[in-house]
Symmetry: C2
Subunit: 341 residues, 2 copies
DNA sequence: GCGGGTGCCGCAAGCGGTTGTCACCCCCGA
DNA sequence: TCGGGGGTGACAACCGCTTGCGGCACCCGC
């Protein structure tokens, strides 16, 4: 460690060893493999280490063991509120499991993602891919090089943890159906998104089972402004109820609709997806399908840690966490349409 | 690198060296110190490295050089929307400068913060403290061990980058004053917060200069529910205008006020702080003091990188970035009070 | 033709730990 | 009393890369 002048040189196992008259290897073992060294010696070493302020250097350890105790967290857009709880969940589980998180924000770019992963790869024990934009094949390639868990998407052959969106959508459709809506428009997110395909399919299936009609609008960018811009295209379809790809779009919809004088929920009901920060204090408060994002993060990380520890990854089917419908103020019985939209 | 069975062994400088008949040290130099080796040899090496898929192992490098190319990003609460843009800014600047970010979420706990920093310390080249909860003295202690930049707070003796909150508040006070408000209540955040003290002081000073009256309410937790709970204590003071410690409190205020039938801005104007995600789509849209958080993050990281590269930290006074007032719908002329609050 | 630069590259010693191997000691049982 | 075995701890090699030092060519000028 070439510390800058003025900063003390880090204390090493050799210092500790000298201090209490044992070999460096004994010090090493005292920490990495307790039981392999006499309890009293170990105690002496531990005490000396404490006194000297010794901390084992994770980097040096990593060179020989190949294990860094770091996990790469790959996020498409750290600015997207959906990911906050998953980061938090992952962080908590990581410190719990003795790992530290390396952040890779790819800014929604596949190139950035590739480069970021490449840069992180040599220094992490595993990768947590939260909403990756890569192809299934690419993910599988990565997964062959290092332990990987995918979060919020399923890639066959790679351990995945996802919310039970189908069920959440089913609940939303039931809710809308019971309110008296006959046709539901799904306002789609980005085409490349795995989740989008999944959700649209779930909407169609639920529609079939519940004897409703499913209509597609979009795709739109999964942002507030994307949602606002969707209003125009909705004008043709005159829906009484829409389910948006996510809350960001739903909120954009709310704003765009309000700007055109369309009342929510009186004129049109809107359901969001994700229950993000803010979905409760927009106007009207958004009815939304809530996935347990925080649990998703921690669950994914726990699996990853297990896999790193040597557990064989469990890939037969994805870990599924329950999603629920949060009913708030943006849904109601269909009213007399004022044909304004 | 003890890679798990099934994964290929990483290729090293020795492989590359053998491949093109030079010594390993030459390969090393070809990458770390171009110019120190013959251009044609360097090219040959680079080409062989490419062919073999060689990537220099940052960990091994770190062992000898003591430089890891990692920067620790310490965030009190990753779930707080204020930090998203600073993370984003820091991330962008980090990759720009060839660093990677180690995330330390302290969950608002000083103990977590201490432990997290301790854990991160041996593997980072520097620390970016965004809104730390530690004491000035503790921060200075850390800063003696490793390069540190503090973001969104000033610690004397340690390089800091902060928004020009005083000026933002001044603008807000002017705005409120020109609307006709005579007394402004500051709804305080956590007492331990540096920013809170700073803001309250700025409110008082601006009040003095503008011939307004400044009133203090609080402290309250800097959360939406904290803001809601502040409504009760506001009832006594009957303010016509409040400035909240942050947008979270302001939004809570909005909701609590609405629940009691108090109209914003007709009965009371509210100004927030931070311009977080959601402050534009709450109802009414929040007038708020907007700090350039993203710039804060990137600026702080840039300074940190410079410091790591050997620049002497510039601590005489904090780097100050402009803040501005975003006027939206939550402020208006004081109306006839309905004495409901 | 020879001494002295200079440019390029190899040697080997680390950096701070980990770990396989082996020597040693002590205790126990025969 | 002696042999064997288990428990401890030391030695040294090694992980992949960096770097000080020095050797070797080659070129220049006198």
């Amino acid at each position: 460690m070439n510390r800058r002048p003025g900063t003390a040189k880090a204390v090493t196992i050799y210092d500790v060893a000298r201090e209490c008259g044992v070999a460096a290897s004994t010090v090493s073992r005292a920490f990495s493999r307790p039981g392999r060294v006499n309890p009293t010696t170990a105690e002496r070493i531990r005490e000396a280490a404490e006194r000297l302020g010794y901390h084992t250097n994770p980097l040096a350890r990593a060179v020989t063991t190949g294990r860094t105790s770091m996990i790469g967290l790959v996020i498409p857009d750290i600015t997207n509120p959906v990911y906050f709880p998953v980061i938090r969940g992952a962080e908590a589980a990581a410190t719990e499991a003795g790992f530290v998180l390396l952040l890779v924000d790819t800014q929604e770019s596949a190139r950035n993602e590739r480069e970021g992963i490449e840069r992180a790869l040599p220094m992490v024990d595993g990768l947590l891919l939260a909403g990756t934009r890569m192809s299934d094949a690419s993910v599988r390639v990565i997964a062959q090089q290092t332990p990987v868990v995918v979060c919020n998407r399923v890639v066959t052959g790679v351990p995945s943890v996802v919310p039970d969106n189908a069920r959440g959508i089913r609940r939303a459709m039931e809710h809308l159906g019971s309110l008296g809506h006959r046709a539901i428009t799904y306002v789609a997110g980005p085409e490349a998104s795995w989740a989008d395909g999944m959700r649209w399919r779930a909407v169609r299936e639920a529609a079939l089972e519940l004897d409703l009609r499913a209509v597609l609008a979009g795709p739109f960018p999964p942002t507030v402004s994307g949602g606002s811009s969707a209003v125009a295209s909705l004008r043709r379809q005159q829906p009484t109820a829409v389910i948006a790809y996510n809350d960001l779009i739903a909120i954009g919809l709310l704003r765009g609709l309000a700007a055109e004088g369309v009342r929510v929920p009186a004129d049109v009901s809107v359901v969001g997806f994700d229950n993000i920060f803010g979905s409760d204090f927009c106007t009207p408060a958004l009815t939304t399908v809530a996935a347990p994002m925080r649990a998703l993060g921690s669950e994914a990380l726990t699996h990853l840690a297990a896999q790193i520890a040597g557990a064989t990854p469990h890939v037969s089917r994805p870990v599924t966490l329950p999603a629920k419908l949060v009913v708030r103020d943006s849904t109601a019985r269909p009213g007399r349409r004022r044909a304004k939209i």
